[in-house]
């Protein structure tokens, strides 16, 4: 009998616990749920968001921090199924035009005080579809070259103002010292459309290669692609760190920051991290240069912006727009500068940030970043006419799958499982198949 009573008590307690948990999940009115990633600038935004809540006491912010790929998957599911779990989502300029065309995003109409013309034109254009703005940039990045001034000096080398890929290869050969674990060049090798293929797509553009011709036929077996991949593979094999196929942005950041890379070509966002002595052992030895030029010398380089958008499934669209205009405003930049210092302000979005002498003093790489973003031109021409936009990606929904698949094939060349020719032939076949399945090509 006693046992029966205790069983009943346990069941009742559990039921109460579960009911309580269901009730507690009901959202309070005026609560904005913001889905974001765990990047440094987003962490600062979250810390300073109490200022927004003070100014808007009727709006409460609820933060959901997710891993980048999980974020994409969750947000896509949420919007496609119109669940309305998120009021503000953090997405990139790859997603914005595609999602806008699907009718998933709310058009953003900031007031005059926001000064939308202060946003750098290349960044603003990348978040615009059919003449309408669908997201506001939180921070933006392009590509640049980082190098170790001390190693260059020791080897008697000087980094030119506009380096070429041939020069970069020669420099890398000279400063590689594998016995001391110093590798001449570090590049992204981890397979993924946003990892190795972001760099390789950008490299391909300056080598005169491109993903598709005007009839959506992949051009992977072209001479320009062969030259691109041959440079990449031979540079990493000769002067790169071991296990390069495991190295993405973070791994290369760790290698460079701990003194194991001589040259690293990657996102401009690394500048602030490498320049910070708390995170970098080589903070006083880092040199900056623009991204190198290949044989073609022109073509789109690299433009990525982490942006804040409001999905159409949000039930609190007006409040959500109020928040994103605050988080991307000039006043927010000033708030970060006052609370965290000028070096911590979100980079790459506003001309006014680069006009502030305090910022250019605190961030010596600022002029390189500004120039790189201004000239990134993701909508610009490649060597041959192309049917798509994007610099380090192809602005079509199929690219996530295609890019990752080709990324795996490219990684196979680094680990000697395939030759460059085999990899490119295989990549072309898989892209053709994918585009035929999606109905884009016949």
């Amino acid at each position: 009998m006693t046992r029966l009573k205790s069983t009943r008590t346990a069941i009742c307690t559990l039921a109460l616990l579960l009911t309580g948990s269901t009730l507690s999940s009901a959202q309070a009115t005026g609560t904005l749920t913001i889905a974001t990633v765990n990047n440094g600038d987003m962490i600062v935004m979250r810390q300073l968001s109490s200022e927004f809540e003070k100014a808007h006491p009727d709006i409460h912010l609820n933060w959901v921090t997710l891993e980048e790929n999980v974020l994409r998957q969750r947000v896509t599911t949420d919007i496609a199924m119109k669940t309305g779990q998120f009021d503000v989502v953090t997405i990139g300029n790859y997603e914005v035009p595609i999602w806008a065309k699907q009718g998933w995003l709310t058009e953003i109409k900031p007031d005059a005080a926001y000064d939308v013309n202060d946003i750098l034109p290349t960044v603003r254009d990348s978040l615009t579809a059919d003449g309408k703005l669908y997201a506001l940039p939180f921070y933006a990045e392009s590509v640049m070259t980082y190098y170790r001034k001390d190693l260059f000096q020791k080897a008697g080398l000087t980094m030119p103002d506009t380096p070429t890929y041939d020069q970069i290869r020669q420099f890398a050969d000279k400063i590689t010292d594998k016995s001391n674990q110093v590798y001449g060049i570090c590049l992204r090798g981890k397979p993924g459309w946003g990892e190795n293929m972001a760099y390789i797509s950008s490299l391909a553009n300056t080598f005169g290669a491109q993903w598709f011709d005007m009839s959506w036929k992949p051009t992977m077996t072209s001479d320009a692609w062969k030259a691109t991949l041959n440079w990449y593979v031979s540079a990493l094999k000769a002067d790169g760190p071991p296990g390069a196929t495991s190295n993405g942005f973070n791994e290369n950041l760790a290698l460079f920051a701990s003194g194991h890379c001589g040259i690293w070509i990657d996102s401009t966002v690394a500048g602030g991290l490498l320049f910070d002595p708390k995170q970098s052992q080589v903070a006083d030895k880092v040199g900056f240069a623009p991204a190198p030029k290949g044989p073609y010398g022109k073509g789109p380089t690299w433009l990525w912006s982490w942006s804040l958008a409001v999905p159409v499934s949000s039930h609190q669209s007006a409040d959500a727009q109020t928040f994103i205009t605050w988080a991307t405003s000039k006043d927010y930049v000033k708030l970060v500068a006052a609370q965290k210092g000028w070096v911590a302000v979100p980079a790459g979005t506003r001309a006014s940030t680069y006009a502030a002498p305090e910022y250019t003093k605190a961030a010596p790489f600022a002029s390189f970043v500004l120039n790189a973003i201004k000239t990134a031109d993701p909508n610009g021409p490649t060597a041959q006419p192309r049917p798509y936009t994007g610099a380090q990606f192809v602005g079509i929904p199929e690219f996530q799958a295609i890019g990752t698949q080709v990324g795996q094939t490219v990684a196979a060349t680094l680990s000697d499982q395939m030759t460059v020719d085999q990899a490119l032939t295989s990549a072309e076949a898989s892209i053709t198949r994918a585009l035929r399945q999606s109905g884009r090509a016949r």
Partner: protein, 275 residues
């Protein structure tokens, strides 16, 4: 001579056992070690074994996220799902073990086959069901999914344990006038308690570590510790120290609980193996 061989075999087996144990424990040890390093120390090559420990990663983890909120959700979901699963599995396993029909074996195999389907295969229907029943981002929703996910394995384990209990003992109870309920609760359960305890513990561990459904069906209110860990992964920036601190905090409770109850777990898992 025979004694010498026996001793050397014992020493060899002991060394092998320790070797395997250390090899299995090494990733957890390294995670704990990294959690006490600064971000620069965490990425240093070659990796540092001796260093000045710091609690900065823990401080930042506690500052940035509400650990106790995530931990409470994990406890509610794990305990809730395990309790309901055991409550449903005991009568099911009892009937299959002691009152088998010609379809029992087929039913058992069918139940197990549901574990063979990759979870992502049923993501969309389960997501839609959760949305339509307003169970998205609720502990109740996650309890139901975790409970159903683990139910087949729990029924199987309990069925195996119950089969080890000699049927004449239950018959004796029946002869003394016990009802089915009394037979199950007063005779069978005390006899199979070690097995039930180890099954519950295993279910608790599986629920505690479950990541796929918790990442897809929750966002903030019902997010458990697996979501807490995932939130410290960063696409752009160094995070190994903080991620290790978050992971250590997430696994610490279940690790301590497992360590305390290891005798029960081993006893349960070997229940009926030696008669």
């Amino acid at each position: 001579m025979a004694l010498k061989t026996k001793t050397s075999t014992r020493i060899g087996v002991t060394i092998l056992g320790w070797g395997i144990a250390l090899w299995l424990f090494f990733p957890i040890f390294w995670m704990i070690l990294t959690s006490f390093k600064s971000e620069v120390q965490a990425i240093s090559t070659p990796p540092k074994l001796f260093f000045m420990p710091t609690l900065s990663s823990y401080a930042e983890v506690f500052e940035r996220a509400s650990y106790w909120h995530f931990a409470l959700n994990t406890v509610i979901v794990s305990v809730g799902a395990t309790a309901i699963a055991i409550a449903l599995a005991v009568p099911a396993a009892y009937s299959m073990a002691f009152i088998p029909s010609k379809r029992t074996r087929g039913t058992l195999l069918w139940m197990l086959s549901t574990r063979m389907l990759p979870p992502v295969g049923v993501l969309v229907p389960i997501y839609l069901l959760a949305r339509n029943t307003h169970l998205l981002d609720t502990c109740t929703g996650l309890v139901i999914v975790d409970m159903l996910t683990n139910l087949p394995i729990i029924v199987w384990m309990l069925y195996t344990f119950f089969r080890e209990v000699p049927a004449p003992i239950l018959e004796a109870g029946r002869m003394d006038g016990a009802t089915r309920w009394q037979e199950m609760t007063m005779v069978l359960l005390p006899l199979a308690l070690p097995g039930i305890a180890s099954t519950a513990l295993l279910s608790l561990i599986l629920c505690w570590n479950e990541a796929f459904w918790s990442l897809n069906l929750t966002s903030s209110h019902a997010a458990p510790l697996t979501a807490f860990i995932a939130s410290f992964s960063s696409p752009e920036g160094l995070f190994f120290g903080k991620l290790s601190a978050a992971s250590t905090l997430a696994v610490a409770p279940i690790l301590i609980f497992g360590w305390i109850s290891q005798k029960q777990l081993v006893r349960g898992l070997t229940f009926g193996a030696v008669k």
